[in-house]
């Protein structure tokens, strides 16, 4: 009887805690724990020596096409610089700053190769007026001053980046549309009809959180080379992974989703603006991704906190396959802010590394397993 009286409250408390799930599972998982039993490869860089005319200022992102590096560097004059990787020399600048219809707000541009036609790529101006330019590689490299005409898309949504799927369809990450929680959109450029899909990766039912989540995630999106419209999206604010497909009718199908941890933010509301502000407790995730037809290389910056992220660079690459399974881990010999792989030469991984990401380096990754 006495024992019962002693243990009764203890059992009661346990039941209470179990009911409330107060111990809960800590939802935050460090992605690196999934790679604990995977092979780790340490690789050494080879620096590309840049000529005087191709010095980088504050590059934001870059892509590699054969022997050319196309760098989103704000030089004050143009949004992009093309550097010959063999000579280190500046080949050309494009996306010039200005207020004309064929000019750019160079603080607000994003470029991606076209999916079907490798002879073209698109550049979107994210800031208003929202417009997209389709560039032809031949014309860009052979014409002294090449400024294609813009395509102005409807104002009720915004693209953060664009991938031209074919002559009439523009796909991309959308920043806002009807203020819902849909992350991606496919726009028919003839009819201006937008089909959206892929919910923001939020397990809860807080709709306000869900709607703003897609705006604050800062995810990196890449197209799977050679696939029929398969994409990977890895977030920098929080750490989330989404892999999805788009069919011929532009229906979205989520194939894999992993939430390691979500960003924390608040909404500031005034008569003039409604805007998100990150909570200092937000942990960072993936700062950059590069892909081949078999693997996704994700530069993992986390889980440093928001107020510690002045230098969003890392030397850790987590390698996944396209089903989202961890494959291997790579340790770089230096910290890099962005990584890229030329889809036609998947044996080389490039990095924008060092102070302000102003150094271009190259890593051999084709012989890791030998």
């Amino acid at each position: 009887m006495t024992l019962k009286k002693i243990f009764a409250p203890v059992i009661g408390v346990c039941i209470l805690f179990a009911g409330c799930n107060i111990f809960g599972d800590n939802d935050d998982i460090n992605p690196e724990t999934e790679f604990k039993n995977k092979q780790i490869y340490t690789i050494r860089s080879e620096e590309i020596k840049l000529a005087g005319d191709s010095i980088l200022f504050k590059p934001f992102d870059f892509q590699i096409y054969d022997t050319l590096a196309v760098i989103n560097d704000n030089t004050g004059e143009a949004g992009y610089s093309i550097i010959n990787l063999k000579t280190g020399k500046l080949l050309k600048k494009f996306a010039f700053s200005g207020s004309g219809s064929s000019d750019f707000d160079i603080n607000s541009v994003s470029m991606n190769a076209s999916v079907d036609k490798k002879s073209t790529f698109s550049v979107v101006q994210v800031n208003s007026p929202c417009k997209v330019f389709v560039y032809k590689w031949d014309s860009l490299l052979t014409t002294a001053v090449y400024k294609p005409n813009p395509f102005y898309y409807p104002k009720h949504f915004g693209f953060l980046n664009t991938f031209l799927l074919n002559d009439s369809t523009l796909f991309g990450r959308i920043s806002f549309s009807k203020f819902d929680n849909k992350m991606f959109g496919a726009l028919n450029m003839s009819s201006n009809k937008l089909l959206t899909g892929i919910d923001a990766p939020n397990p809860g039912d807080d709709t306000t959180y869900s709607k703003w989540l897609k705006i604050v995630m800062d995810d990196k999106v890449k197209y799977r080379p050679g696939s029929a419209y398969e994409f990977a999206s890895f977030s920098y604010n929080g750490a989330t992974v989404q892999i999805f497909k788009l069919d011929q009718d532009h229906n979205f199908q989520l194939e894999f989703q992993k939430i390691y941890y979500l960003p924390l933010f608040h909404i500031i509301k005034s008569p003039n603006y409604t805007k998100p502000t990150m909570d200092p407790g937000t942990k960072s995730g993936f700062g950059s991704i590069a892909v081949t037809k078999d693997k996704i290389y994700a530069l993992y910056n986390g889980p440093s906190l928001d107020n510690e992220r002045n230098d969003p660079a890392s030397n850790t690459i987590l390698v996944y396959d396209w089903t989202g399974k961890p494959v291997e881990k790579i340790k770089l010999d230096r910290h890099c802010g962005r990584i890229a792989i030329d889809e036609n030469n998947p044996g080389l991984l490039y990095g924008l590394c060092g102070e302000m990401n102003t150094h271009i380096v190259r890593y051999k990754i084709n012989d890791l397993h030998h």
Binding site: V13, N74, S108, V126, I268, P271, Y273, T277, M278
Partner: protein
Amino acid sequence: MKSFVKKANLLKSGLVMAVLTIVVLNYSQANGHRKSPSVITITTAKADATCYSSSSSCTVQTGDGVWHTVTNAEL
């Protein structure tokens, strides 16, 4: 006497439960346990268009309901 012991035991049970609840709640909060994040709306008289740090893009909605997005270098 019996009644006194009964009351004392009940009081003891209540105290144990209260102490354990406080301990576990504090532990839970200190270790950042969250089932799902929530968003808090902070209302101010004045706010500018500057967004948050450590991000490549920033989207705000102006008072007229229009959305605006900027990316990278301005931030």
